[in-house]
């Protein structure tokens, strides 16, 4: 299915957020996730089913003031 990952369209085979993150190269990374604007805690990612057109945000530590 096609989903939006950080604003970019991506084709994925995975059906849930946890598997999608592995597929997209985030395995083992320190990240926080949101689907369609709602925070999804790490523990809930495997149970978070994805649907066509979902908007995923994958955020990581970055410089800040």
């Amino acid at each position: 299915m096609r989903i939006l990952v950080n604003g970019a369209s991506r084709e994925i085979g995975a059906a849930d957020l946890g598997a999608a993150l592995d597929e997209l190269g985030y395995g083992g990374a320190v990240i926080a996730t949101a689907v369609n604007g709602e925070f999804v805690p790490a523990a809930d990612r495997p149970a978070s089913r994805l649907a066509e057109g979902d908007r995923i945000e994958v955020l990581a530590p970055m410089q800040g003031g």
């Binding site: 320190v30 926080a32 604007g37 709602e38 955020l59 990581a60 530590p61 410089q63 003031g65």
Partner: protein, 257 residues
């Protein structure tokens, strides 16, 4: 000792981690500043580059506390969601809460700020709200559960120093027991010293250090200024006067006319 929520800190300088020429200069600047708290942010991570992972390992190696911000958030929902994401990633309930109201000055949207602070405090966050010097907003933030306030000196990154001296002095006088951290707009160490001389508990600096020609040298200069300002406050500065008062006694002066 500075006390922010239940954490005691020796250093009254909090340092931002953005816009340094290189990661190694960031590391050296944090060390030179003596800061025990650094601010960090969350941004989109690419699965290929994973740039945030390297940054996070640098910050972890510093051994300081992190204060995640909600920089760039313009709505309550965005700020609250970012705070939740930051709590998970950084493993702290501290959050520097920013709800930006206007892009030219990056002035906080104080109405959204109070609303977001209320939500986050009720969820157990320890909120550091980036606010103005407005007394009533400060009151509302404290009512919402904030136990630290971070009033701006002047717009973020402007380096203009303490823009509204009267307003900041009034804020300090109105809330003598609340830790107040002057955040944003400090450009040179004398601005930081001035904030501490006025009785502010700490300052948060970023651009003034990271954009200096020599960020590490400037970090050290700020450390000295903050210490000097605090020592001056503790020593009780004299009251300014309108007319000259001779410091050398006139009694016993020779008549040589």
């Amino acid at each position: 000792m500075l006390r922010l929520y239940d954490t005691e800190l020796r250093s009254r300088l909090l340092l931002g981690t953005a816009r340094y020429p290189s990661p190694s200069i960031l590391t050296e600047a944090v060390k030179a500043s003596g800061a025990q708290v650094v601010t960090v942010s969350l941004r989109r991570e690419s699965g290929g580059e994973r740039a945030g992972q390297g940054f996070w390992s640098i910050v972890r190696d510093l051994g300081v506390r992190v204060l995640p911000n909600t920089a760039g958030c313009h709505s309550v929902k965005e700020a609250v969601t970012t705070a939740h994401m930051g709590r998970e990633v950084f493993g702290t309930s501290w959050v520097k809460l920013e709800v930006i109201g206007e892009d030219e000055t990056l002035q906080p949207d104080v109405f959204g700020l109070v609303e977001a602070a209320r939500i986050l405090c009720s969820e157990g966050f320890e909120v550091f709200p980036y606010t103005t010097e407005d007394l009533i907003v400060a009151e509302r933030l404290l009512e919402a559960g904030c136990r630290v306030l971070m009033p701006w000196a002047s717009p973020i990154g402007s380096g203009r120093g303490l823009n509204n001296l009267f307003g900041l002095t009034a804020l300090r006088a109105r809330f003598p027991e609340v830790p107040l951290v002057v955040d944003a707009g400090i450009g040179v160490p004398s601005h930081a010293a001035q904030a501490l001389e006025l009785g502010f508990d700490a300052v948060l600096i970023n651009t003034a250090v990271s954009q200096a020609r020599d960020p590490v040298g400037m970090a050290g200069a700020f450390a000295l200024a903050v210490e000097a300002g605090r020592a001056a406050y503790a020593a009780g500065p004299m009251e300014p006067r309108d007319l000259a008062v001779p410091s050398t006694p006139l009694i016993g002066k020779a008549f040589l006319g």
